[in-house]
Symmetry: C2
Subunit: 221 residues, 2 copies
């Protein structure tokens, strides 16, 4: 567990918890670490939502596949970030999403029971953990608002530009890589891949941006 300490210290769930206590706490919580190969499924839609996940290395993708097989990508989770916490905390019967490893990844899983129901009065850090979980969930809600701001646009071009501008702002640079290939970006923006490619082509011709695969550069005009 020790080797993940640096990552875990950055995790929103463990803010304001002393480093020495962290390892004890993880044992108390029954945290386990599992490795997944690229494209392997970490959590399957329809299964009980028992575990809170933390990405230690690699990255994972949250996807939703509807009745007709259409994929929506809800997000990308990077090291030290948390996933499935909402479903685990709400104690829903089954998760409505699938989580897959984007690349070879190490994932920490914590049984939400141990956070929500056990010894919540005994251990002082449990209170801090709950507080952190609340903060994290508030942050997640805000992320969803951002995504809705993007996907509520009506045209492919507007969605793409809203996404790229928000990424540029987030990276604090007009020059950044996105975590999606074209098909994935289309499934994130809720548009057609071919139409998306065409739109990126047009914007390049118009001198609005430069792009090569996952790399983008916004040009001021």
């Amino acid at each position: 567990m020790k080797k993940y300490l640096e990552i875990l210290k950055k995790c929103a769930l463990f803010q304001n918890i002393e480093e020495e206590k962290l390892l004890t706490m993880l044992t108390c919580l029954g945290a386990q670490v599992i490795s997944f190969d690229k494209k392997y499924t970490i959590l399957t839609e329809g299964k009980p939502a028992r575990y809170i996940g933390i990405v230690l290395t690699g990255s994972v993708q949250i996807i939703q596949i509807d009745y007709f097989g259409n994929r929506s990508i809800l997000g990308n989770v990077l090291p030290s970030e948390v996933f499935n916490e909402a479903f685990a905390c709400a104690e829903v019967e089954s998760v409505p999403v699938t989580v897959i490893a984007n690349e070879p990844s190490e994932i920490m899983l914590i049984d939400s029971d141990h956070i929500l129901h056990t010894c919540s009065n005994n251990c002082g850090f449990h209170q801090q953990l709950i507080f952190n979980l609340m903060k994290d969930l508030a942050q997640k809600t805000i992320q969803f608002h951002r995504r809705i701001e993007i996907t509520s646009k009506r045209t492919t071009r507007e969605k793409l530009m809203a996404y790229l501008l928000s990424e540029a702002k987030r990276h604090n640079s007009a020059y950044f890589d996105i975590p999606f290939d074209r098909q994935e970006l289309a499934d994130y923006l809720e548009v057609e891949r071919s139409g998306l490619s065409a739109e990126i082509g047009k914007l390049q011709k118009e001198g609005v941006l430069e792009s090569h695969r996952k790399h983008f550069k916004l040009l001021q005009s």
Copy 2:
């Protein structure tokens, strides 16, 4: 305050808090009740996110208006339900949404500072309040997932049917009222009003549903 007790007991924030303590607690939290006329603005986009709101009577709508003036409706909040908790808990500089009264409404506002920073160790109910807030935020995240499941559909018809089916499921009846007029439903589903009206007309002709204004009935086929 007493006259709102029945509503407040149903509020997710106050679960597992004894009725007698609730009134004391509200005083301690500095809760205030304000009345708003129909269409009045309760919270304005861009302002600091200081207050957590609870609808006591009436109902409010959460809306987002983009640069070009396009409105998205993010949701409808009914008595005993909470709003703005995510922005208040995340302590963002400014809220990205506007909240307006749908009808004459009484709203309880609680300064989030009093929940997040004051006396969080002294008073035992504070811990319960934080726990409830966490549960509520988890629930909110799930609500967003549902909305994305609906708006990620590509055609007006699919969005409409996904919405109506989820409403029927929620009401446990094929027979229900929606909280939106046509324009509002269009802004919730992220489609054109005229196209939405046309689609509702078609579905009626096909015998899939019956509708008059806010009333809908799904017919099995």
